[in-house]
Amino acid sequence: MKPIKKVILLGSGGLSIGQAGEFDYSGCQAIRSLEEEGVQVVIVNPNIATVQTTLKEGRKIYLYPVEPEWVEKVILAEKPDGLIAGFGGQTALNCAIRLDESGVLARHGLQNLGTAIEVLRLTEDRDLFAQAMKSQDIPVPPSQAAASVSSALRAADRIGYPVIVRAAYALGGLGSGFAQNSSELKYLVEGALASSPQVLVEKSLWGWKEVEYEVMRDSFGNIITICNMENFDPLGVHTGDSIVVAPSQTLTDEEYQLLRTASLKIVESLKVVGECNVQFALNPQSLEFYVIEVNARLSRSSALASKATGYPIALVAAKVVLGKSLLEIKNPLTGNTTAFFEPALDYIAIKIPKWDLKKFRGVSREIGTTMKSIGEVMAIGRSFAEALQKGIRMVTENESGWIGSTSSLRSSVVSSPLRLVPKDWVEELKVPTDARLFKLIEALRQGFHPNDIYQVTQIDRWFLNELAEIVATEREIRELGLKWQKRKPILEESLASVSRDSWRCWKSKGFSDEAIARLCSGDAWVSKANWIMASLVVRKLRQQAGVNPVIKKIDTSAGEFPSSSNYLYLTYSGEISDEVARKSGPPSALLLGGGSYRIGSSVEFDWCAVSCLEKLRELGWSTSVVNHNPETVSTDFDLSDQLFFEELSLERILDIVEFEKPAGVIVSMSGQLPNILAPQLASRGIPLLGHAWQSIDQAEDRKKFSALLDCLKIDQPQWIEATSVQSIKDFIAHVGFPILVRPSYVLSGAAMSVAIDESALMAYLSRAREVSTDYPVILSQYFEGAQEVELDAVAQRGQVLVSAISEHIENAGVHSGDATLIFPAQNLSETIKEKIAEIGKKLAHSLELNGPFNSQFLIKDGRVLVIECNVRASRSFPFVSKVLGLDLIGLATEAMVSSEEIPPFKELVNSKLVGVKSAMFSFQRLAGADPVLGVEMASTGEVACLGSTVDEALLLSFQSSGLKPPQKGVLISGGRIEEKKKLIESVKILNELGVPVFATPGSANFFRQSGLRLSEVSWDSIAEKMTELIQNNELDFVINIPKDYSESELSFGYRVRTLAVRRGCTLMTNVEKTERFLKALASKRRGEIRESVSSLDLACQGFC
């Protein structure tokens, strides 16, 4: 093996369900670890919002698709010594296998570092894997691989129903599912084979325990298991969609060691080098077990295990991949102990998935073997109850938590004896959904017997019993409250009688101050603001009783060795806080993170947080972070001086502030969740760094903001805050339909909708009430055919330092998070650009902004209208910063904390190159979800690429986001006449490219009149026809443009869209995007697109 001086590391591309921010976390740790060993790292990853694609001294970044054709070009340009594919998820692994199969690795003499490609192939090929396990006497479930529907049906007949289908080479269980009979199996296999060459038909182990081990092996054969984890949900729910507990809680030493020893044997037999995840099914009534999956790479589970234990798995794995022995690597958390050890935990960590399914129209809420969650939270406590209740509050973003998990808060106290589970509840509990945890809690509140719930769900009775104990304590508090209410209804006086023991019991069972206030006072208060006041009363009396949380370290050794770790959590199960080493002298900033990834809040805010932390360090500040998202880089152990893996709630932040006493809190880097805490924190006397809370409030409160715009004579769409039906009618009479409806404090267009007529509006209003009762509904004028533009800017004390303008390809009506962004804007006149910049200056000045902000505009007939202003970092900051080669967040951080005045950039900044950012969608795994673009954000991630022309950058960006150019055939349907007109050019291009075109009658007629060649497809048999065309390899691209967003129109094309997605066709639902895509393909065909690659440092040599 020649010495490794330079490696190419493959990233995981845009975030999608099953492959999220965890690979940025793992990748970043690996890159730093490799650089520590003196190895230069070349990164291929088109995910511009990641931390790993930030340009750093010595690093080479290539924002290109993680596809063999592009990776080979990077190999030619960089001539690396080795390839590392273990840190970029399934995307990188599949790419490495293809690079090997196509001979690229051999051709360039490139070594694959880490686990051998043959082994990766073996773990991905279900049949080979089963054989390999059998040869080691490791039991695998009876199964058979199949590459066609008919062979899958034969296999199932042999194994016997029910069976589970698993797709090969797929991430997040895509295409997997249970089949009870042959028709279910047929449906599943058809879907799975659309994206995978092979499926495995396997004996169903529904209801067994699911247990995972994270294993690391070095090239000398030394093996450790870093962590084991147990799923709360028994087998049948994908581990990514399961509530997961680390370490396992219901396994005896015998079972723990049985599976541990088996995982060691598996990893040794495969000669894995680096990290490996092993998943088992364990019979809940015996020692029988099967290995069900092996992932010989870093994974979501390994990221979770890393955060749950404190063991920096990716950092150690990277050194192991270079050939180092585990025995010689030090554990960076302790500094002086070996990395060859297994962490001992003295707490429990619980992961709860974040689904966000409400954001998808038509999606099934059931969860199963195909992963649907988009993010996760991890809660740490010294009891199950404490950690679980924390986790529930984290995943519900403090909106309701445990206490608000049901509507029965006001129902009378249930003190009925144990009840049998009635029939209507059985299905609710049996079929796992995104709300099952809350159903379980409610069932226990209703007095159903945990044993019966166990019979229905197979969830281990230990877990159910723990839930029942929380419910019992909840009832105790509620009963006490009822007693008080009869006597003296003043909360403060009543609470004064609570004993220290009771406080300790309630708090160590995880009840928040707000929950206690609400349980005690029943119906006494209703609004959120009052709950906050009441929770502060609880806090005061609890503190008077001497009950406070203590701070404990996560140190990997359960306190056995002294540790300099500053990875912390808070618990009520403890006497004394650990000693936390602190830098004395420098001012300290407490940065609030953004919580779990979800639609609209993703890795881009982690990038902002990391950039901010790095700048603060550079400026000599000491830093602390509060967050609970295990998939983030900003919560890595060495990125801040103190890491609190904790809730982002007022109660917890007050606890931390009382302990930390920071010079200021930063709320503007991590999206909306911390931002809306600003007024609450400020009113408790906690200093904020950056924008004043009044500025945030004025921008967030639509009324205040609108008044400000009027005062500044800035144009805005007309709107009202609807308080009565009459006011709605008056407003509509004035502005007409269509109209945009939404609640205030909007994030990612939550519950935002375009109503085209009165019936649509009424339908929306009935739904809106369940979304938010605390904030009113907003109606605003909706502009069709308007262009949408964004301004990202940084201000210091009211003066804009720098601003950058990008434009959307899609016209207004597509959420900015789903739209394709071009930066710098290409199609705006100088006058418009100046107008926009001027508005930015006015806003910054009047709001006295001091930090990052983003504003969105509509351009219509020369008018520039402001839609909103986010007084915080936005989704597009990393994109704009990287295209410019100028770290806007670093600048914003300096503006926020520096007493010196920073000289502003004179002009609008611009770039020689153009960047195109496009959204990643995960509709393929969201059965039933309508994959149409609209005002509700639906994308799960994004990618961006640079080019010397828009077309070059756009094609790279679209390829990176998974959009494939049409090759076999295109089906066009729908759209209004204006849109059909716009598509003429596109159809012409398709004719020139020689791609067959099919169209539904209206479209066919229209395009034929323009002399274009196509075949007509009738609407009646469209699904059958599509299936036939797909099967015959005659269709791979579907253009379906809804005429409008009415229910009836959407349901019209729904079947076409969902079928296209399920069968792996590229789907376009926006006319401008389609147009640009096909035009770019035409210019590629004419040879006008550059085919070589350049790294980000070359691309960004100076902005002008």
Binding site: N222, T250, T252, E342, D346, E469, P562
Partner: protein, 367 residues
């Protein structure tokens, strides 16, 4: 259907108990198990599973054992019986048990009773609700800290037994009372019982050995066997009566000897090496050892406060394993003769089974 008391908790308020430490600290929690007082050296174990094995490990005899991991009793306690799964000795060894939380119910298919019920049956007191991480840190800072468990909140002021005195020889309390032969096999192993963990016996029997269980004070020259196994056990290896000189006799005799934990320390003392009390004992399932002269390491289960001093090893003895963190000796062997010993627990139970091969190798060599 099982009768459950889940939903009407708090029917009887738990009794309070206090833990008084010899360094002056006092903690209050709830009494679990037998409501009686106890005293002993305070030790911890950081293992996350295997509380039944730890509690029946005779090496903990007389000590007060604090489980660092906060959730105990989750899977209950299996049915006791001679050699039963989950048990490493006949009864609970420590004089008292400290936990943060204990499960009031157990549902595992092996479970026979809850942890608290078992403590009551065996007459052992316990305290729940304590900060076991803090206790672990205290033990780390005051290695010989002793503790008293007192029922109620009145901690009292009775003096502690002096920790400086060597204390009584513990072996009579944990060793078998009479010689017994277990199993039938090709070779007979003489197992000198200093408080042997049952898994050592299980592993020997699984390899078709005949095991003769021998009381610690038997005249070993009168025993007929093909090899010796010196077992684990409690206390200071120097405080083991005449056993060291007896083992010196075994070395002269020349039959293969394998020492485990206390047995290994006694073997080292008999060979002429010295032992010392460690500043930080090793107590957990995650201790890594290096096989000297190779690139290999192994994860082991450990529970010891004493170690053999490497500098004092006689000429013919060589280091076999060393601890990867503090470099202390974890195993020695004779250069040419079949004598060896390890400080850790190759029989695991509880803990990782990665060094099971040592016992297999030992038996293989006899055949």
């Amino acid at each position: 259907m099982q009768k459950l008391k889940l939903l009407d908790s708090k029917s009887d308020a738990p009794q309070k108990a206090s833990l008084v430490l010899s360094n002056g600290m006092t903690f209050q929690g709830e009494s679990i198990g037998a409501p009686i007082s106890a005293e002993g050296e305070l030790v911890f174990n950081t293992g996350m599973v295997g509380y039944t094995q730890s509690l029946t490990d005779p090496s903990y005899y007389g000590q007060i054992l604090a489980f660092t991991f906060p959730l105990m009793g989750n899977y209950g306690v299996p049915e006791p019986g001679p050699g039963a799964y989950g048990f490493e000795g006949r009864k609970i060894s420590p004089s008292a048990v400290i936990v943060a939380h204990h499960s009031s119910q157990a549902f595992h298919w092996r479970s026979h009773q809850t942890l608290s019920q078992w403590l009551k049956v065996d007459g052992i007191p316990g305290v729940a609700g304590l900060d076991t991480r803090l206790l672990t840190q205290i033990i780390r800072s005051f290695p010989e800290v002793r503790a008293k468990l007192v029922i109620g909140t009145d901690a009292g002021s009775a003096a502690f037994h002096s920790s400086a005195s060597p204390g009584p020889v513990l072996l009579p309390r944990v060793s078998t009372a009479e010689r017994r032969v277990l199993g039938k096999g090709r070779k007979r192993i003489g197992l000198v019982d200093c408080g042997v963990k049952w898994n050592i016996i299980r592993q020997l029997l699984a390899q078709e050995c005949e095991v003769e269980l021998i009381p610690w004070d038997t005249d070993l020259s009168q025993v007929d066997c093909s090899a010796w196994l010196l077992s684990n056990g409690p206390g200071d290896p120097k405080n083991t009566g005449g056993l060291i000189s007896q083992v010196r006799g075994l070395i002269d005799q020349g039959l293969p000897i394998f020492g485990i934990c206390l047995g290994y320390q006694i073997l080292a003392l008999a060979a002429g090496a010295k032992t010392e009390k460690l500043r930080f004992g090793h107590r957990g399932h995650n201790h890594s050892v290096h096989l000297v002269g190779t690139q290999r390491g192994f994860m082991t289960s450990q529970n010891h406060g004493y170690a053999v001093v490497e500098d004092t090893l006689p000429d013919q003895w060589v280091p076999w394993f060393r601890h990867l963190n503090d470099g202390t000796l974890e195993g020695i062997r004779h250069r040419s003769l079949p004598f060896r010993g390890v400080q850790f627990h190759p029989e695991a139970a509880a803990g990782p089974q990665d060094t099971r091969w040592l016992m297999e190798e030992f038996v293989q060599e006899l055949l």
